[in-house]
């Protein structure tokens, strides 16, 4: 059978088996839709719109305090670790950059389970209740998590600086730079890979980075603390810009559905 004849036959089959529309049902649907639309318009005129700032404050009450408590606990452990290390100056000078690197990576990683959990439970109900896009909700939660992490980072860097062993640039390159890099990677993965694989992918990436840090420490190779100042600060600015870009991209995202529904 030629192609045109086959297609004509196929179209004919579809047309002949096409179900008839029930006018009554169509009118009923139209009535329901109008009622629903009107009720939404009325409820919107009654509710007060809140800005992104207020959304962030509300999220603090909902989830922020839990994350910050966890991060405080982590800080306490880190403080004990640094205090122990500073007790032995020889160990401090050799391993400190790698330890700071690993701690910074762990701090950045702490946002991943929160984001994975939020995506996993879709947050559709919150979204429809708050009328904020999923992207803005995620951005708000990410800001809260990373704000806590930044405070911890600052505390960690302050403690290290108090030991007077390292210069500011060395501390920054060992802690802030890997923190920004891992935050950029984890945020960048969001929306680029399948939702179901997000947490596993981030965990794998962080595990590889930590393994590399451990190997570098064992081998006694150079660390980010040894980066030339220009290269180090450039890398920091680049990573900061990448993080800002990823958060902005997250802000604009409507959905984290992966692929299309027809695949």
């Amino acid at each position: 059978m030629k192609n045109d004849a086959f297609i004509t036959e196929l179209k004919k089959e579809f047309r002949e088996n096409c179900p008839e529309v029930c006018e009554k049902h169509m009118e009923k649907t139209a009535g329901l839709v109008k009622t629903f639309y009107e009720s939404r318009q009325n409820s919107r005129s009654r509710t007060r719109r809140i800005g992104f700032g207020e959304l962030v404050l509300r999220q603090i009450r909902f989830i922020g305090w839990k994350i910050w408590c966890l991060q405080l606990a982590v800080m306490a452990v880190m403080y004990c670790a640094l205090h122990t290390i500073f007790g032995n100056m020889d160990v401090a000078s050799r391993h400190m950059p790698f330890l700071l690197f690993a701690m910074a990576v762990m701090l950045a990683w702490m946002a991943v389970p929160m984001m994975g959990r939020s995506i996993r439970y879709r947050m559709a109900e919150i979204e429809s209740a708050s009328r904020f896009s999923l992207g803005r909700l995620m951005a708000a939660r990410l800001l809260i998590t990373e704000a806590g992490a930044v405070v911890l980072m600052a505390g960690m860097m302050r403690l290290t600086a108090a030991g007077s062993i390292y210069r500011l640039s060395e501390i920054v390159f060992s802690s802030l730079l890997p923190f920004l890099a891992v935050t950029g990677i984890c945020t960048g993965l969001l929306g680029h890979i399948r939702v179901q694989s997000y947490v596993k992918s981030c965990n794998a990436a962080v595990a590889c980075i930590l393994a590399s840090v451990f190997i570098m420490d064992r081998l006694g190779t150079g660390s980010p603390a040894d980066l030339p100042a220009a290269a180090g600060w450039t890398a920091c600015v680049f990573c900061l810009a990448a993080c800002a870009y990823q958060i902005r991209r997250l802000w604009k995202k409507d959905s984290f559905e992966d692929g299309t529904v027809f695949c």
Binding site: N3, F6, E9, F14, N17, M26, T29, L32, V33, F262
Partner: protein, 193 residues
Amino acid sequence: MTRENEIFKQIEQGNMESLDELIGLYYPEIFRYCCWHTSNRANAEDAVQETFLKAVRYMDRYAHRGKFRAFLYRIAANTCIDMSRKKYEVPVEVEILEAVPLVDTSFRAAEDETDFLSLVRQLPEEMSELVFLRYGQEMKLREIAEITGLPVRTVQSKLRYALKKLKKTAAAEQNEERALQNMQDKRGDGDEK
């Protein structure tokens, strides 16, 4: 300004009659789409109603750029998938079942479904979808690409492959039928002798 643009403008200004018009514009094709993706007419009607309600619910997310059709189809697809996952069946009273004659006018009127449509259903899901949108809903390739999120070239090549596969399967079935018919004829001749 296209008719659809005018309708949206009217809706924004609070003209509810325009919503009627919008639904009238898309109801038949969305209903056909839901019939193809659900097990019976009642489920299809529920799906199409749910689709339009969701479209209103998510209207804020849709910035009108002439892609309302694609937006509706995505919602319809998700609704049908949700229904099939929940193994959705409309509960019907036994008395109603007995009173109403069994006339299923959906695509899946089993005994009546012709070979072509059953062959289309046997294709992989994505291809079956493309064939239905192209030849059942008579959409253009660009429209199908908007709905499915696939590039136009991909839609074109997958359709070409699907048609090839359909023709091959149809030819094989026809040969089988012919062979069966020949056997039956031979047996009939043998009996006569």
